[in-house]
């Protein structure tokens, strides 16, 4: 029978196999795409309302200086003289002395604006993302200091190592166009 037909048995099997594989691949791709919630590109980000500043962001990221940094959302900052993100508990004086500062790397700059307001800025290259300042600001202040994943540093890993280690499951994917979640504008709770 093999000789009568123009193609041999082996070739027939291969052709069938190829056809079936194309169908299976198409099926898998189609089904996966159909079930997917969103189809746009996405990035990892921290939900500041879920974040508990456990400090894992500084240590779990695949980058040795984490892609997570403290960012300052000036629009909700109280510009306090006694900033709980800046001063270590039991500080001696409210000045920029190193012994008064909470940040282990001295990454926050305090600048006088007008009585009684002070401006706090993050020197981002120094920040290691430990979240100590965020903890202080969230606990007692407005929460204008927040941890966010910096997309210029983030490798956008397929699986975020910090997201897996995060005890409060605060890290998840958001549309790339959105990029950052701020506290006063957090619509990530779907």
């Amino acid at each position: 029978m093999g000789q009568e037909n123009k193609i041999s048995r082996m070739e027939f099997l291969k052709k069938t196999g190829r056809g079936l594989s194309v169908l299976a691949l198409g099926g898998i791709a189609g089904a996966a795409l159909g079930r997917s919630k969103r189809k746009r590109e996405s990035v990892w980000q921290i939900d500041p309302d879920k974040c508990t500043q456990c400090g894992k962001c500084a240590t779990e990221c695949v980058l040795r200086v984490s892609a997570v940094k403290c960012v300052h959302n000036f629009s909700i900052c109280g510009y306090c003289n006694l900033c709980f993100g800046y001063f270590a508990p039991g500080q001696r004086e409210l000045n920029t002395g190193a012994e008064n500062q909470l940040c282990p790397t001295g990454a926050i700059r305090r600048r006088f604006v007008e009585e009684p307001y002070y401006e706090y800025t993050i020197k981002e290259p120094r920040c290691v993302g430990c979240g100590k300042c965020v903890k202080g600001c969230t606990a007692f202040g407005n929460g204008s200091l927040q941890l966010q994943i910096r997309h210029d540093r983030c490798k956008n890993c397929n699986e975020c190592a910090i997201a897996k280690a995060c005890p409060s499951k605060a890290i998840f994917r958001i549309p790339a166009a959105k990029g950052y979640i701020t506290k006063e504008n957090n619509d990530s709770k779907i």
Partner: protein, 431 residues
């Protein structure tokens, strides 16, 4: 009139819900400044645009097609080396290895299992393009477009050939790894392939210590064993192998007919060249022997898989936390128990234990159920591997094994017919 009314209502809503709720919730209301101080804006460095990821797909497709052309049509090892150098530089060191088709298996598996998973179209394309290409050009992706393969291929200094039996047994590792990775991905417990990828920390110049150790081991191994990751672990190769078995076009060692000169036999560092062989005398094994063997394998696999699944579920975060919490409340001395961050966070939040336990129970049973498939799959692969190795087809010429050949083009140079043809072509070009 209506427009005016609408504006008033909107303004009212804004005062009630917008401005009111924003400022009342702060301990220290954001101040209004008398001086001409301007509030800085939170710096939001943007992520890369969508179209950039599509550019990567175009580059990937280009690299695969070029590699296919170089291995099938142009038949030039040097062109393949140039393409793999480019892939290593672009997909490896520039894009830093993410996202790659190998890892995308997990995204697709997770999307199939969990409706609502975030799966961009670009990831689907990255997953399926090399597989579709394998149906037409063999493993052209492995040959030139994969940065992992390129790195190992270029590092190979002096190969030692592994015994055939060892090579075949170790290559089951790829299917096992694929099965485990899919099991973890569908249960939403993490991406194994990415977490233990050996080469990504080198591409990024940074990473956890254990990744560097495994990476270093693989890099050392690949200087004398051809492509150890590709052959024995790469889960994507477990998909590419069966597909390239039915591939339309295949790499051939010689451009014309093989004269069985034996020169190419040792050229392949990956043990992918099949030598001519006489057909083995038919050992008549009754057909039911195979069928019984097959069924036994599937049954054994399912049972083993069920228990393995239960065991593996301990690595899921929810199950881990549930076990810890259970221990915590059932031991007399609570202070003696050292809790993980996850458990501490759980207790701090004060959520109900019951919910956690039900969730963990569901995860465990899901693991067991998917473990059945994993076990059956692994034993099925083992069965096929054994049957395949028992098969002794008649072969008259030297030819690459279509599943194991990674289209690296090393064997071309050793073929006298290929050399003659290449020489002729060069002379034609000169004149």
């Amino acid at each position: 009139m209506i427009a005016k009314y609408r504006i008033i209502v909107l303004a009212g809503c804004f005062i009630l819900f917008g401005a009111g709720s924003v400022f009342s919730s702060y301990n220290f209301p954001p101040p209004e400044f008398d001086s001409n101080y301007i509030k800085p804006v939170m710096e939001k460095l943007p992520a890369g645009a969508d179209w950039l990821s599509y550019l990567d797909i175009v580059v990937l497709l280009g690299a695969i097609l070029l590699s296919a052309w170089a291995s099938l049509k142009k038949r030039s090892r040097s062109v393949i080396v140039i393409i793999s150098l480019f892939s290593l530089a672009y997909f490896g060191f520039y894009k830093e290895g993410c996202i790659c088709p190998i890892g995308s298996i997990q995204n697709v598996a997770a999307a199939l299992a969990n409706p609502g998973y975030y799966l961009p179209v670009s990831v689907i394309l990255i997953f399926s393009l090399p597989l579709i290409a394998a149906l037409f050009f063999g493993r052209a992706y492995c040959g030139g477009a994969c940065p992992h393969g390129a790195l190992q291929d270029l590092l190979l200094i002096k190969e030692i050939s592994l015994p055939k039996g060892l090579d075949r047994s170790l290559s089951v590792g790829a299917y096992l790894y694929l099965g485990l990775a899919v099991l973890f991905a569908v249960n939403d417990s993490g991406f194994l392939i990415c977490r233990f990828d050996p080469f990504v920390p080198f591409f990024r110049h940074t990473g956890p210590f254990y990744m560097f150790v495994t990476g270093g081991v693989f890099i050392l191994l690949s200087t004398f064993i051809g492509r150890p990751y590709c052959r024995f672990l790469c889960p994507y190769s477990a998909l590419l192998k069966p597909l390239s078995l039915v591939s339309k076009n295949k790499v051939t060692i010689t451009p014309k007919e093989c004269i069985v000169c034996n020169l190419c036999a040792a050229s392949c560092p990956y043990g992918a060249i099949n030598e001519p062989a006489a057909k083995a005398p038919d050992q008549k094994r009754p057909r039911f022997f195979y069928i019984a063997f097959f069924i036994a394998a599937l049954l054994l696999g399912s049972v083993l898989g069920y228990f393995t699944g239960g065991f593996l579920s301990r690595y899921d975060v929810n199950v881990k936390t549930a076990l810890e919490i259970h221990n915590y409340y059932n031991t007399g001395t609570k202070s003696a128990v050292i809790l993980s961050e996850n458990a501490k966070e759980f207790i701090r939040k004060g959520e109900s234990n019951e919910i956690l336990f039900t969730l963990a129970g569901e995860t465990v049973s899901h693991y067991k159920r998917s473990g059945i498939f994993l076990g059956a799959f692994i034993l099925f692969v083992l069965f096929l591997q054994i049957v395949y190795s028992l098969r002794r087809p008649k072969r008259e010429i030297y030819e690459p094994d279509s599943a194991r050949c990674v289209s690296c083009g090393r064997c071309f140079r050793d073929c006298p017919i290929h050399r003659k043809a290449a020489q002729k072509e060069n002379e034609n070009k000169k004149s």
